[in-house]
């Protein structure tokens, strides 16, 4: 698989992929920052460390409350601490041997938890929670009772040591960028992949492969995209059923209409064997009309089959000169009966991208039409030339031509200039369908010396890009 970056895909204004990717990236970044902030705060809660020089110095300088004197009376110790603490910059607290904290103001519960942990550690520690920093315990005996002392309001601890790779702000930013960007990418992929699959299948469907289904991985999803995939498959199923029903109908109609026509033809043969000769004109008329009916059915079927085929063009590299020559050869056999001379001027090796069957029927229909209007002993000229990147096919007859104002309508379905001619009026319409499918055009004009010319122009280089559907 070829991997290439499509920058338009990342533009959040132009694609769902970019929108999802960028917005998730930003969101994840914010979350990472928030988590980092909170975790930092949380780390502050329970930070216990060793006292540094300034703590020790403070311990030597700080004034102690007069509790030794009042040792025997617990209530007096409390009162003295209250008085001292309310006046001093540093507050002292005592913990007795029943783990009761003496002293005011009463600290929050978190501090009590921290202090109890500090007491379990060896030696004097400094504990910090939010803005409060405590130091202790210092063991002392007051009147024979053991107390542990804590000092509140000492300088805070330095920030904790983080792993080296998290210590640098830049590294942290890069790490966050990669982790969140990668996660957002995976997320965006998981959403846009089924969309791409849906798109591919719907293009296949539009291109005529009616058995294309989304299926598999997309339809197993439980989300809205899975719903969409399943609905799409239901739709494709229904479409396929309808089209195949229509095709079945077409071939049934063809069979059903032709059986009675065959019987009619044979019955006509029997009547002819037995009929008196004065019925000859009427019988010829019946025969002609039944021929016309048959050619009408054939053409209508051809047209509808043709429109079907246009849905699945099969362009290949082909030699247009070979194809034209083949049609001309066939036309020569037909023209012999009417003594029409077919002259051809066909350039050799004209390569073109196209559907051979479509092009064959286009050229064939135009030539047949020209033959029908050619007078006995007339001449029909067929030319294939190339110029300026296009192939030019010109078919000119010596027939009566067409009034200027009717030239355009010649290619309309069921259009017949003269109601007495036996064609169904679909041949030139089929030719136009085929030529436009090849991005060419077809035009008719009268020659100054009499007769009609039909000119088909087909582009030589279209890199195989024909109209699909």
């Amino acid at each position: 698989m070829k991997f290439s970056i499509n920058w338009r895909k990342i533009n959040p204004l132009g694609s769902v992929f970019g929108k999802i990717w960028l917005s998730f990236w930003v969101t994840l970044l914010l979350i990472v920052l928030a988590v980092a902030f909170v975790s930092h705060q949380v780390a502050q809660v329970y930070q216990i460390g060793a006292p540094n020089a300034s703590h020790i110095g403070l311990l030597n300088r700080v004034k102690l409350p007069n509790i030794d004197r009042l040792a025997s009376d617990r209530q007096e110790i409390i009162d003295e601490l209250d008085r001292f603490n309310s006046e001093s910059r540093f507050q002292w607290y005592l913990v007795d041997d029943t783990y009761h904290l003496l002293g005011t103001p009463k600290p929050p519960r978190r501090i009590l938890v921290m202090l109890s942990e500090m007491m379990e550690l060896e030696g004097v520690k400094v504990g910090q929670w939010r803005q409060e920093t405590w130091m202790g315990p210092i063991t002392m005996s007051v009147g024979g009772d053991m107390y542990r002392l804590f000092l509140r309001g000492v300088p805070s601890l330095p920030p904790p040591n983080l792993p080296l790779w998290l210590d640098s702000q830049w590294l942290r930013a890069v790490f966050a960028l990669f982790v969140s960007g990668g996660m957002a990418l995976v997320l965006a992929w998981s959403i846009t992949r089924p969309i791409a699959r849906l798109r591919r299948v719907s293009r296949q469907l539009a291109g005529g492969s009616l058995d294309a289904r989304v299926g598999g991985a997309v339809n197993k999803r439980a989300d809205e995209l899975g719903d969409l995939g399943r609905d799409f498959d239901d739709m494709a199923e229904r479409l396929q059923q309808l089209v195949s029903a229509q095709q079945r109908l077409l071939s049934n109609v063809s069979h059903e209409l032709r059986s009675p026509l065959t019987r009619l033809q044979v019955a006509l043969g029997i009547v002819r064997q037995k009929a008196p000769s004065d019925l000859e004109t009427a019988l010829s008329r019946i025969e002609r009309e039944s021929d016309r009916l048959e050619s009408l059915i054939a053409q209508v079927l051809k047209l509808s089959r043709f429109e079907n085929e246009m849905q699945h063009l099969e362009p290949t590299q082909l030699q247009l000169d070979d194809l034209v020559r083949q049609v001309v050869d066939d036309a020569r056999f037909e023209s012999k009966a009417h003594n029409i001379l077919i002259t051809d001027q066909i350039e050799s090796t004209v390569n073109i991208w196209g559907d051979p069957q479509l092009l064959h029927s286009a050229i064939d229909n135009v030539i047949r039409n020209a033959l029908r209007f050619s007078p006995e002993n007339g001449e029909l000229s067929i030319q294939l030339t190339t110029r300026k990147g296009e192939a030019l096919i010109e078919i000119c007859d010596q027939g009566p031509g067409v009034p200027e104002d009717k030239l355009e309508r010649l290619f309309d379905p069921f259009y017949r200039l003269d109601q007495s001619n036996s064609g169904a009026g679909l041949g030139l319409n089929i030719a136009r369908h085929a030529v436009t499918a090849h991005k060419g055009d077809i035009r008719a004009y009268n020659r100054p010396e009499g007769g009609l010319c039909v000119r088909i122009r087909l582009p030589l280089n279209q890199n195989g890009r024909l109209r699909q559907g």
């Binding site: 033809q265 043969g269 066939d330 056999f333």
Partner: protein, 232 residues
């Protein structure tokens, strides 16, 4: 005159009745079978000069019927196909039909094809009496007694029509044979516009020969016909 006996295999009973009356007036005797199975049974019990075989039939279709007929009989078969179904013709001729006619056909066309096929059978009979022994050319051997073809020592199965194509081409080895002549001598009729019967027979022969040998034996001469390559 000895009246020719034709078997029609077609599920359309009305058509069979009408055709019977029509062909009777033209001097032919027509029997009808209304399904492929029925037709095969009738062919085993009686002998016919010609079979008209419809492709579209309920039950076993025309192609399957033809395959079964060919397994035991070389009676001439005219396939009646739906118009515009190119594949039907190719398949029919490949399976050994002698000619085809697209439905709906005019009574004149049908009569002309029947006459052409029957005339051809007459010609074949005369020719068969004259032909005997073998014709060998460029590694291909035709045996007129057994109607078998050998190419570079290997047996190559061919239908009657394909055998005749080879006979015409090999009897004029090294010369271009016009398609018109091939139609006349192989199918007993004139060429018509949009007629690909001979081209298909030739391409079948080519395909079968190519299965045995690398060297091409038959060349296409554009605008004229075909040529059997002279090794000299």
């Amino acid at each position: 005159m000895n009246e020719s006996h034709i078997l029609l295999i077609d599920d359309d009973r009305d058509l069979a009745e009408l055709l019977g009356e029509y062909l009777d007036a033209e001097g032919y005797k027509l029997s009808a079978a209304h399904s492929g199975e029925d037709g095969i049974v009738q062919l085993r019990e009686h002998s016919y000069d010609l079979v008209l075989l419809d492709v579209m039939m309920p039950g076993i279709d025309g192609f399957e019927t033809l395959r079964q007929i060919r397994s035991h009989s070389s009676v001439p078969v005219l396939m009646l196909t739906a118009k515009g179904e190119e594949m039907d013709r190719v398949l029919g001729l490949e399976l050994g039909a002698d000619d085809y006619l697209a439905k709906p056909y005019s009574h004149r066309e049908l009569l002309a094809r029947i006459k052409a096929l029957l005339r051809r059978i007459e010609l074949d009979k005369v020719q068969q009496e004259n032909d005997s022994g073998t014709l060998e050319c460029n590694g291909v051997t035709l045996n007129f007694d057994t109607y078998e073809v050998e190419c570079e020592g290997e047996h190559v199965p061919m239908t009657t029509s394909e055998f005749k194509v080879l006979r015409v081409l090999m009897s004029r080895v090294g010369k271009a044979v016009p398609k018109e002549d091939l139609y006349r001598e192989v199918l007993g009729r004139e060429i018509m516009a949009y007629d690909r019967s001979i081209d298909m027979h030739v391409s079948n022969v080519r395909r079968k020969l190519q299965a045995v040998t690398e060297t091409p034996k038959i060349q296409t001469i554009r605008g004229i016909g075909y040529l059997f390559v002279d090794p000299k």
